[in-house]
Amino acid sequence: MLRRRLNRLFGGDEKRVDSRTIYVGNRPCPATETFIPPKFCDNRIVSSKYTIWNFLPKNLFEQFRRIANFYFLIIFLVQVIVDTPTSPVTSGLPLFFVITVTAIKQGYEDWLRHKADSEVNKYPVRVLEDGQPARKDSEKIKVGDIVEVVEDETFPCDLILLQSSRDDDTCFVTTASLDGESNHKTHYTVPDMEKDLQSLSATIECEQPQPDLYKFVGRMHIYKPEHDPAVRSLGPENLLLKGATLKNTKKIYGVAVYTGMETKMALNYQGKSQKRSAVEKSINAFLLVYLCILISKAVVCTTLKYVWQSQDGQDEPWYNQKTEKEKGTILYVKMFTDFLSFMVLFNFIIPVSMYVTVEMQKFLGSFFITWDRDFFDPEIEEGALVNTSDLNEELGQVEYVFTDKTGTLTQNNMEFIECCIDGFQYTAFSSELDSFCVTDGPVSTFQEKAGREKEELFLRALCLCHTVQVKEAGPDELGGDQVDGPASEPLRPAEQRGFIASSPDEVALVKGAMRYGFTFLGLESKTMKIKNWQNDVEEYELLHVLNFDPVRRRMSVIVRSKSGDTLLFCKGADSSIFPRVRPEEVERIRMHVQRSATEGYRTLCVAYKRLSVDEYAAADAGLREARLALQDREEKLMAVYNQVETAMSLIGATAVEDRLQEEAAQTMEALQGAGMKVWVLTGDKMETAKSTCYACRLFRRSTELLELTVRTLESGGRRREEMLHDLLFDFHRKAVQDAPPARAGVNRSWSSANPEYGFIVDGAALALVMNPSPDTNCSRYRSLFLQICQNCTAVLCCRMAPLQKAQIVKMVKNSKGSPITLSIGDGANDVSMILEAHVGIGVKGKEGRQAVRNSDYAIPKLKHLRKLLLAHGHLYYIRIAHLVQYFFYKNLCFILPQFLYQFFCGCSQQPLYDAAYLTMYNICFTSMPILAYSLLEQQIAIEVLLDNATLYRDIAKNAMLRWGPFLYWTVLAVFQGLIFFFGVKYLFSNPALQDNGQVFGNWSYGTIVFTVLVFTVTLKLALDTRHWTWINHFVIWGSLAFYVVFSFFWGGIIWPFLKQQRLYFVFFNMLSSVSAWLVIILLIVLSLLPDILLGVLRKPRGPHTQQLSKESLLYVDRYGNGARRFPLAVTCSWRHSG
């Protein structure tokens, strides 16, 4: 991996050849004198991180790279080496526990990856060996092997297609799991291939592996004994990619060119890097602060110690002589060990238990996602899946959502919705023959329907004007069809008739026509057969296909009917059809088209033209000439096309719906309401993607679209770079500079005064922006581009290669303020962006499991994203943020009295608390309540969170873990620590606290402080708890009770294994003193006072019942169903008001 990257970096490396030579079938070729089998990597896919051998060292190394673990290791070592006030067990045991738990967890996860890998690697494939197919494991495929693949199998590696079972030397594949396009693509065998692969002797020379899915350059040399070697050029149309699936073709043979980690699919994966959540970064920042506090405390104490000792008689008074060993140590060594001792004494300020608790919280908390019944999808009978529990809270922090289109936003399932013939609208609800039902039409008093003639013409146009193929059924059936003739044959149900086309829209149109009674039967040797209403078969000779291209945005066919008429049928986008038809026809259709488009349907207009013999002859000649042209073929063709497609008459329009996922629009709306920016990244065509964006209401009618695509770049007739420059600056001016400054945080629906911008960019344009030619100032473009994107309400990136998707995510991720990004997708083409984003969500779609496997979370449907983010994410964030702050807080006020005590014990590192208390504080006395809190807390009820997406903004930008709240908690901790210590100190100005005159010693002092501490800290959490389930009650009161019981127990027995019975009956005696009781109560109340006070002054955020009902009412007013049903009306009214 690294080597390759290096090689790519130093492209001019002389030793490295730019191409690889492959011996087909791994047989030596006559041209090369010496056959050296070249070394390529095998076909093994490795996604796991560890092996059995390197697990322990590698895992330990990775764990100790974590700053916290390393710190605890150091503390542990110091305790082992130096004479410290506490024993090494106090920090060694928790550390060992943490490391073990983490190692087990990671080991288990890696074991799962191993299993998944071996499933892929051991998949049986058939490799041609000596002419016979031999079964092999997929991982054993070598470069040069000839592999056999049958229908519906996925290709095990990148293959050059040598032979297909189809007659026309083609095969169909679907690359749905690679780039998201689920339509069938045609690939071709190498031209003039011999039939006998066994005797084939050939080499392939091709470029080194590169990740671009659509690029491949190679040459094939075919050696025949008596001929000169023939050379065939190879292109992407000959290359079958690993991960794609063979369709509609019985069997193919191909030679492996790229295997294993060098396949284009694998190259489009990105290295797995451990994702860190923003919370963890905050923890690390806080950790550094506390580390500074710790070190400064230790430094202060060490300094004071030596200042204090320099006074007469203080260092070594007669009653407290040093040991011989102490006397013998050098001063500086002593100072250093003293410093370390202080570090150890105060190290509890950074508790190892926080990491245990955080890990446990994340691990246990993620179960709530898998348990959630709302995520259960009855279709696939699965719920949500959590692959990484490290990122739960990140779900509450998302700022940018990158979504795939195909299969994620849409179901990738086109459906014919309605059409409009000659100004009359027909919906496709009825499937019966000859039952067009008119739902809506202008001035339909006189005539309810368009003329029958027109209807027939329209349907014929639909049946003819396409490039759809009928999926071949079994040979018997096919034969039957031909023999019986259509009249006697019962109509096959539409579902059984399979159509294959490069665009799913066309299939939808043909199917739509079928529903109205015009069935396309197939294309056979230039003859298209359709069956009309009378069940007669009409035959048309297909003369020319004027292909679709995105610039013209239309396609045409020229056919000749049986009667000898030459007809041109054209369908295309309204904008490209309207100028080419008679204007008087336009108005009647335009209204329908616009309305359909507003509904989010993909609309196409259908026009036709009767060609006279002369016209056809001219067109025919023009087309033939242009096709044969060697230079500027495209331009010449275009000119002829444009010439032919004029003066047509408009017949009607169609509306096709790419069915959105359930609640896709509502989900997107909720995400935008929550302040997230939604970007659609798709490999699909721009038109399709755009209409989906409209349907999802990412773009609205009022949205002004800024297009930066190949089309706009080339429209000006200037160089692309210049155009890019102009467009970028133009858009930047519009979207960034002219935008009113106060727009942040305002829901866009309300800011109707501002024009909304939607940005559309395609892969080629993006490539220009990202890697412009050297003479331009590239970084400037990037920042311009980014700024434009960030100021648009929605961004659509189409025609993206998988790596480009990741590139976009990366660009946003690394932009200013490093926003949290989320990628959601369902196909293998989304894997790289899923891996790149902070949070990767996989949709358990139809396109395989690649995305799910590589995601952090997997959900069955897009609509689940809403609850996942708005409810779960929000709650997790609040929980973990509180957890983190609370942990730092409770340890600061735990250690602060111990620090202050040093000033009163000659800075001698005397612990204030007993060792048992020091160890148990974080493990037992105060850990369970916060764990329960961090699992169960719902400050705002889930229903409210789901209804009010804006609540998500309250916690945006890591709101609860910024320095402000951190400072608050720290100040609170310092305040309480001071109160604990000095409160008890003033009490101890007279240590005779019992009614029998007996006095308390230093351990009583520590125990009183500790009791106040445990109670205050627990009650503080109780004050923060807004959701008291029985578990909270149990754990909070239980841990307080446990503390009391433990203290009794610990002080009630002379423990034989203890060197000192420090706490013997200390707790009991403390409780027998009224003063101790009084001071404990007083200090607890005083410590909690500021928090209560602040709770009053702070605006209540809780789910107040009245407030709740009011808010949800408001919500209905604003977003209510009315708005959902009539988006147009609503947007219009906003526009007018603005």
Partner: protein, 369 residues
């Protein structure tokens, strides 16, 4: 105290059978519909609002202020008398003793300090000695003891813990009791005499038991060999701490108060929390209800001055104090209670004001007034 909206969400966890018609027929991977797993546990959802906290503030204020006043009065009623007998000042009777210090002198220095009590001490009087700038809480000092030895363990008696260094072994004999704490045991003898108006010195009986925690005396500290009377034999083979004039088994003549269970030793072994501390020395028991324990008048404090404190700039005090239910005299607690109570009350008033003036939007209008 808190406005609570007890919100029980419909708990459909216990009749999941009704969720779907074919629910129980096929065991799907559908998550269980339990309240816990669906995060729908019934919960009490308290909210801190001005309305709920205001009464709490008033109640705290109303409770704390009387308690504080009570504490303050109690503390003021405790009588305390304190004498510094370190002998820093030349005019002090103990000046000579404090100057001529050496550990190994057999003849001890005595001095006596006269004082007078203006008020009679009515109930039991507790006699403390106080030390200042004496770091009993120094880490090296605190850990320098062997509780197992003090608990009567014979092994530890002969082989004291390493923690006792450098007070562990002297002349190849284990020290009993070992360690710095025991070694530095307070060994001044304080005696109190009442000077009658006619000039006669009446010794005041000082009780030397009951000054240590009961559990310390009876469980934590035990003489080796159980309650056998022959302590000398038990301690054979050990040596006295360096600073002690006599071995541990000669601390007292009363066998119940000798050896490790000597209460002076036990009291001393409970290390003080702060460098300035007091420890209970003797108790003056009230004789009868008619006469005060210490009537007003003149007294003399006779001191056998053994304990050196000048080397570390320390002070020695003798304190006479009566005791109440809250212990010794300490005005801090009373003052603290009064101030916290007042602050709460004051905050309550302020909040009430704010709440009435600005809190109209808030719909919790159930504030008592």
């Amino acid at each position: 105290m808190m406005a609570s909206s007890y919100n029980i969400k419909e708990e459909d966890g216990h009749h999941s059978g009704s969720s779907g018609p074919g629910g129980n027929a096929v065991r799907t991977k559908k998550p269980d519909n339990t309240a816990f797993k669906q995060q729908r546990l019934p919960a009490w959802q308290p909210i801190i609002t001005a309305g709920t906290v205001l009464p709490a503030f008033f109640i705290i204020g109303l409770i704390f202020i009387p308690i504080g006043i009570g504490l303050y009065v109690t503390s003021n009623n405790i009588k305390e008398f304190e004498i510094d007998y370190t002998g820093i000042d030349i005019s002090s009777p103990c000046f000579n003793c404090s100057q001529s210090y050496s550990w190994n002198t057999t003849t001890s220095c005595t001095c006596s300090i006269p004082f007078s009590l203006d008020q009679p001490f009515e109930s039991n009087v507790f006699m403390y000695y106080g030390l200042s700038n004496f770091y009993q809480n120094h880490r090296r000092y605190v850990k320098s003891r062997d509780d197992s030895q003090l608990n009567g363990n014979l092994d530890s008696l002969k082989a004291p813990s390493k923690e006792c260094e450098p007070y562990r072994i002297n002349e190849n004999m284990p020290i009993a009791p070992c360690g710095a704490i025991a070694n530095s045991m307070f060994n001044d003898t304080l005696d109190l005499f009442y000077i009658d108006p006619n000039g006669t010195r009446t010794p005041i009986p000082l009780m030397k038991t009951g000054i240590a925690w009961w559990t310390d005396k009876h469980v934590k500290f035990r003489n080796p060999g159980g309650s056998s009377s022959n302590l000398t034999a038990v301690f054979y083979g050990t040596t006295k701490p360096l600073s002690w004039p006599k071995p541990v088994y000669e601390l007292d003549t009363d066998p119940e108060n000798n050896g490790f269970v000597n209460e002076d030793l036990i009291v001393w072994m409970r290390t003080a929390a702060l460098p300035t501390f007091r420890k209970l020395y003797r108790i003056i028991q009230k004789k009868n209800s008619l006469t005060p324990t210490l009537p007003r008048g003149n007294y003399t404090l006779d001191i056998v001055y053994n304990y050196p404190v000048r080397s570390f700039d320390g002070r020695k005090r003798m304190i006479l104090s009566t005791i109440s239910w809250m212990g010794g005299k300490n005005p801090f607690l009373g003052i603290a209670y009064i101030s916290v109570g007042s602050v709460c009350f004051f905050l309550g008033v302020v909040l009430l004001f704010i709440h009435h003036k600005y809190g109209n939007r808030n719909n919790s209008s159930d504030i008592p007034n």
